[in-house]
Each structure stands twice: as structure tokens, then as C-alpha cells.
Point group: C2
Chain length 249, copies 2
Amino acid sequence: MAQHDPHSFVHMNCGGCPIRHRAVCARCDATELTTLEQMKYYRSYQAGQTVVWSGDRMDFVASVVSGIATLTQTMEDGRRQMVGLLLPSDFVGRPGRAIAPYDVTATTDLVMCCFRKKPFEDMMEKTPHVAHRLLEMTLDELDAAREWMLLLGRKTAREKIASLLSIIARRDASLRLEQTSGQIVFDLPLTREEMADYLGLTLETVSRQISALRKEGVIGLEGKRHVIVPDFDRLSEETGDDSDGGFLN
Amino acid sequence: MAQHDPHSFVHMNCGGCPIRHRAVCARCDATELTTLEQMKYYRSYQAGQTVVWSGDRMDFVASVVSGIATLTQTMEDGRRQMVGLLLPSDFVGRPGRAIAPYDVTATTDLVMCCFRKKPFEDMMEKTPHVAHRLLEMTLDELDAAREWMLLLGRKTAREKIASLLSIIARRDASLRLEQTSGQIVFDLPLTREEMADYLGLTLETVSRQISALRKEGVIGLEGKRHVIVPDFDRLSEETGDDSDGGFLN
DNA sequence: CGACGACTTTGATCTGCGTCAAGGCCGCTG
DNA sequence: CAGCGGCCTTGACGCAGATCAAAGTCGTCG
């Protein structure tokens, strides 16, 4: 989804930390690269652990190395809405704001590459390319949020499920286990409840709609309930989105 | 809502174009200011006119001078969801992307201050403060979008209406007509249908809920239906949000 | 001023999804 | 291996909000 123009940031080191792919600029000089390298540190979380609570001080920014994290907002009476889904290489945290406006939670075991905020901000001042890249990433996220708003406000339960499966299958290649004869098999990393929080539904409705899609042969479930084999074309017909199913920007 | 840190961009000229308030940095030098001044031009639209169609090429970025514009997404069968509401001084357009991903429509008579995209991007390269400020604005919008997602996914019709009225009353001081004895009187610039598109409801439900709030004395309508006198405290109790009603970041 | 059109209100009815409840599957632990 | 806890499925029922329909308000233009 994220587009890279020829002058954008590049993948510097395949084996390394993804922050290099996302926040390090090809045009930065060696000193800047070294500064970034020295600043970074790693943190691990277990599935289910909370990374930051809404309202808490957040003194770092970070990039997901492996695993999945969610951003959620909770109302006083416990109603929850997921507002962000972070897959490997996604960025969390907001330069220039101290307080986290939502909970960040690890839904699987999670490793993040962190930078203390102050030094990171100082570096941004000196390295305009980083700010530029961050702007690009934030705009991508904003577009995704708006797509999500259409889903929440106007789609039916069935369309919501189909959209979610399409989005995940499209977005995270790392979840694709096999690709034989055009079929995409992937491990769905969310529980029914997490899907419900993503879609603004209850977990029962999610379950029912998934069963319905399975009975109709649009998707298939394998063994442990989380492995899904969608009939990709039929699935994207169900999303309610424009036919081609892709973003053509 | 937008916070200005001491080093942020400042209001340079009360009578002038709001792009100066938003995108011009106090620390920029005279040459940069002059460049910006020379680049800008104005466009006017009538209420109801479309500024850009989704999928069209958008070769400028702009700042709203006066009036109100909306960003909306439309599904093939006509279901519509508003995904952005632009009030004076808000910014539209995405440096680095050619195609508009949603319709931009003037809901009132509208004046925008525009910059052709290419020169604006070139200036961003040379003037890091502008990119920095733009990042800050985009992050604010992202936060607003996430708040909006909670509204769409989890709030009841009544809570949605109360939230919308609070948001508008809080956000746009220019709509406040009088403030006597703590009462805020403001002109609501949206039709029932536009509110419905904002909230993910039908216009009938919007109308019914507004009638209900009025009968209960939470809000009042004056003469032409668009002038509303909310009992602000009671209104914010209805939003479902945390009690204080404000963002305390 | 009358008629038209844009917008709003209100009522009657329908339905998709939420709620409540029971039971199934599976892995873990004693 | 029995019992337990987490997660998922399925059924029965109810309700918030959608849909369909009709009538009211108000500005405007001949």
C-alpha cells in the first residue's frame, strides 16, 4: 500500500531492524545512520500484554519488528473500538505529543524497535528526510483510517467481514502460508472478539457471518480455526468496494 | 484542537490568507515568505459544487479560507460516508499523491487558498519547517479520524448526534453567534442529510434524535432550523465520552 | 401571492444485528 | 484422563435504527 517514490527511503539491510526500511533515508549521511543505530533499542511483549495505556505518558516512538499490535479506544462502559492494526514495519507513536490517546496492546508475541522520543525528535529537526518520510507514512495511515470509516459507517456485517479478510490478506504477505493454484492460505491472527472490535460488531455476529461465508464456499477454514483459505475473487465481490479491489493510486 | 508549541507556526497576518497561519513558519526567512506569497492563488466555489471528484487528478493543495467543505466516499450503490469536514484554516490535499481518493464538496459557499502542487512540494524540500508543521497537522487529523471511528463503530444514534454537536461547537468558534449567560448559540452548517453522512445514520434517524434532544431540553432550535442553543453541559453528558469532554493532551 | 422545490418532521412497519443463553472444541494442568 | 478455562458456534428473541410513506415549513421566483 505504501508507495515509494524514487527518492524515498529504502531498504538498507535485509536482516536488520525494520526501522531502517521505514525511517532511514538513502540520502542521509553516515553520521546520521550511525546516530539512528545508536539510538535504537528493542522491547518484547507477550501476547495479550498492554504496551501503553490510554492516557499514559509515552516517551518513545517505535516500529514493529515482528508480531501484531492493536490500537483501541474504550468507552467508560466498556464498549471498545479498534482504531489501528499494526503489522511488522508499522510505526507507532507521535512525535510532538506526550500522552497516548489510546491503548496499544500486543495481540501476539511482539517485538518492537524503539527510539526515545526526545532524541528522535532532535534527529528529525536535523534530518528533514525523516520528517518527510514520516509525513508520507502518516498520510497513508490517514487514508486507511478513512477507508475504515466507510466500512464502519455504511457496510453490512457480511461486507465488513469480507473487507477485513481482504485487507489482511492483501496487506500482510508474511501471513501467507502457501500459494498453490492461485489460492492464498493465510493464518488469521485475530480472535473473533478482536475482529468484532475492528469491525464495530459483536463477536457472535462475526462468528455467524464467517460461518455463512464458509457454507457458501467463499472462504474455507482449516483445522485450527484461524487458517483461512479464501476464494479471493468471490471474496472481493462481497466487500462492497469498487470491483478491482485494489488501490490504484 | 490543534496545539501550537512555542516553536510552531504563528498567525502572521490577521486579514490575510489562513495559509499563513498554518503553513508559514515564524522561523522562515523573508525569501521563503515571499515565495509562498507569490505561489498562492484563490478559488471560489458555490454551495453544493464539487471541488474534486474521487479518482480525479488533483494538482494543487489548499487551505480553506472561508466556508465549509466535506470529504466523502461513495459506494457503487450510492451509500455515502463523510470522512472529513473542512472548516476555515483546514488543509486539503496530499503532497506526494496525484489522485484524490475521495470527493471534495463545498457545502456552503467556499473560498480556498491554493498552491500548485509541484512548486509547493519543491518548497517543502527546501523549508523543513513546513514539512514539520504539515506532519503535525496530519497527525491531528489522524487522531480526529480515530475518534470518529469510535463514534461510527460503537456509539448509539443519540450519542452520535450529541458528539457531532459538541465537536462542531467546540471546534469552530466562528460559528458561535452569541455567548450570553454561558449559552452557546451557533449556526449549524449542515443539512440533516449531511449530518447523517457524517454519522453513518439515515436522515430520518438524525431528525428524530434531534427532535428528542430538543423535547428534553438538552438543545434548543431557533427560527430557521439551523440555529442551535445547546445546554452544553447536558449535551456533553450525552456523548458517551469521558466526562471532562475535552482533549487534555 | 401562489406554486414549486428543497429540506425537515413524523408515523408505521420491517429487519439486521445485538443480547442472552446453552453447548461444543481443544489445549493445559493436576 | 478428568476437569477446567478460553475460545468458538448456534439458537431464540428483542430492539435500535432502516425503510417506506405522507405531510409540514420555508424560501424563492414567476
